[in-house]
């Protein structure tokens, strides 16, 4: 399982990569493994504005539906159409080609509240132990 250093993580297993005032958001390697083969993504419209921790879409495997939550506040500026058309990309490359949405951040103050790679790795370890 990988935990890229440069990303920021949520307890609900989303990640965000910050590039200036744009955040790219996806689900983690651990999340895609837990879900199994992803067959459907429901993504928001470009222009939609979310607060941090809002539900911004859903990801579905054959068996289950999971809600997705925004790590930060902002406006959706791009949706990964390739992933919507072929959700298996999210399984294959969750931190790369399998990204979900890009948001223009409302503030740069929220990112600091998210988990670092190291914190998230131990959080996942704990979660696995509790099962």
């Amino acid at each position: 399982m990988s935990f890229p250093e440069e990303l920021h993580y949520t307890p609900s297993h989303e990640w965000v990569r910050i590039d200036g005032d744009v955040g790219t958001i996806g689900i983690t390697d651990y999340a895609q493994k837990e879900l199994g083969e992803i067959v459907y993504l429901e993504m928001p419209e470009v222009g939609h504005v979310f607060n941090a921790d809002d539900e911004f879409g859903t990801v579905e495997s054959v068996k289950a539906v999971s809600e997705l939550y925004t790590p930060v506040s902002g406006e959706v500026v791009e949706v990964n159409k390739a992933a919507v058309a072929e959700p298996g990309i999210v399984n294959d490359d969750p931190f790369g080609d399998g990204w979900l949405i890009k948001m223009k951040l409302t503030t740069d103050e929220e990112v600091g509240k998210l988990m670092t790679a190291e914190q998230y790795a131990s959080y996942v370890q704990q979660e696995e132990k509790e099962r």
């Binding site: 689900i27 199994g36 083969e37 067959v39 054959v62 068996k63 997705l68």
Partner: protein, 372 residues
């Protein structure tokens, strides 16, 4: 991402350790700790459609009806005509309430004129046993034999070749819904040409002590065939493509065989049976709602329990998934009879969003002729 909850104190099949060893993901299925998948639902589904898959379904319940009153008793307890069965044949049937609704759906095997085996759904086993025991008539002994059987399903176009190589007697000549009592890899086995996937295949009722050996043996012998261990996840997508009902989802004690499009298991001419009066009345009055197959017109996967809005009133999605074979969402819904015609459009409330769906012909998948 939201996480699923977990449960405790689950029953295990004789294959539990093997599932762990094979890296299965285990879930609570009706009180049983069962493999939902090994390599992945889509891959396992494909293995069964194209090659051969091996399932542990030992959680299913088995009852034995013996004695000279067994036939009469089963004629009373089930709607299909047990008198039509000969030795070595089985059929699909049910236990019905006085209201004509499903207590459970099941298989009836005739081993001999005075010896039958019934196979019931795992989570219904205690309920069914009490129900049958209280209503069995005459000189019959009803026994819950569930602990004495492990059950493996070997399903797919290469199942017959694989099973025949391990079986003491060649079962590849068996007709669909026939069985023989023989042995597999030295383990006593009832080998039945039945299944819940829409493919050719067998179900092997085994002495529990031999089950793990047979499961391993099938995997080893079937390596060249691409034999794949399969979990309940693929079993569910396979059965839904084949439009086989799942108790607790598509049928339950509020649904009659007429409503579920399972009228063929009801033989009104055979004489009296439990639920007959109610079924007669419903047939005369007309069926108020029907279980239909549907595809999504709009994007989205309609799942079990989602409300359905039709021009004729409210309905509900009873099963829904992504069909691995068709590559699109499919499902079954209980709709008002007036909205059940092929081609009728309706809306499914997918977590607050209304998405259009259309009633279609079923089964969604039918195996190619040459594979039969």
């Amino acid at each position: 991402m939201s996480a699923p909850a977990r449960a405790t104190t689950l029953k295990r099949t004789p294959l539990y350790d093997l599932h762990r060893e094979l890296g299965a993901k285990l879930i609570d299925f009706g009180g049983w700790e069962m493999p939902v998948q090994y390599s992945g639902i889509l891959e396992e589904h494909r293995a069964v459609r194209e090659r051969v898959g091996i399932f542990d379904v030992s959680h299913m319940g088995e009852f034995e009806f013996t004695g000279e009153g067994a036939l009469a008793s089963l004629q009373w307890l089930t709607p299909n005509d047990v008198a039509r069965l000969t030795d070595g044949r089985c059929h699909y049937s049910a236990f019905l309430t006085e209201r004509g609704t499903f207590v459970d759906d099941l298989l009836v095997y005739r081993k001999a004129a005075d010896a039958y085996m019934l196979v019931v759904n795992a989570s219904n086993t205690p309920k069914d046993f009490d129900w049958a025991k209280a209503r069995a008539r005459g000189n019959v002994h009803v026994d819950d034999a569930s602990e004495r059987y492990a059950l493996l399903a070997v399903q797919g176009p290469r199942a017959a070749g694989l099973v025949s190589r391990l079986c003491a007697e060649d079962p590849s000549g068996l007709a669909y819904y026939s069985f023989l009592e023989t042995s597999v890899l030295g383990t006593p086995a009832l080998v039945s040409r039945t299944g819940y996937t829409g493919e050719d295949g067998f179900e092997l009722y085994l002495a529990p002590q031999g089950a793990a050996r047979v499961f391993r043996g099938l995997l080893e012998e079937g390596r060249g065939d691409g034999a794949t261990p399969c979990g309940l996840g693929a079993r569910d997508t396979l059965r839904l493509e084949a439009r086989m009902a799942l108790y607790g989802n598509d049928i339950d004690d509020t649904v009659t065989p007429w409503e579920a499009d399972l009228g063929w298991i009801v033989k009104m001419k055979k004489g009296d049976f439990l639920g007959r009066g109610a079924l007669e009345r419903q047939k005369a009055e007309g069926v108020p709602r029907k279980l239909v197959g549907f595809e999504m017109v709009d994007r989205g996967i309609a799942r079990h329990g989602y409300p359905a809005h039709t021009a004729q009133g409210e309905g509900v999605v009873t099963s829904g998934t992504h069909s691995p074979t068709l590559g699109k969402p499919i499902g079954l819904a209980m709709l008002p009879a007036g909205a059940a015609g092929i081609g009728t459009e309706f809306e499914v409330d997918i977590r607050g969003r209304n998405a259009k769906a259309r009633v279609v012909e079923t089964p969604f998948y039918k195996r190619p002729k040459e594979a039969r």
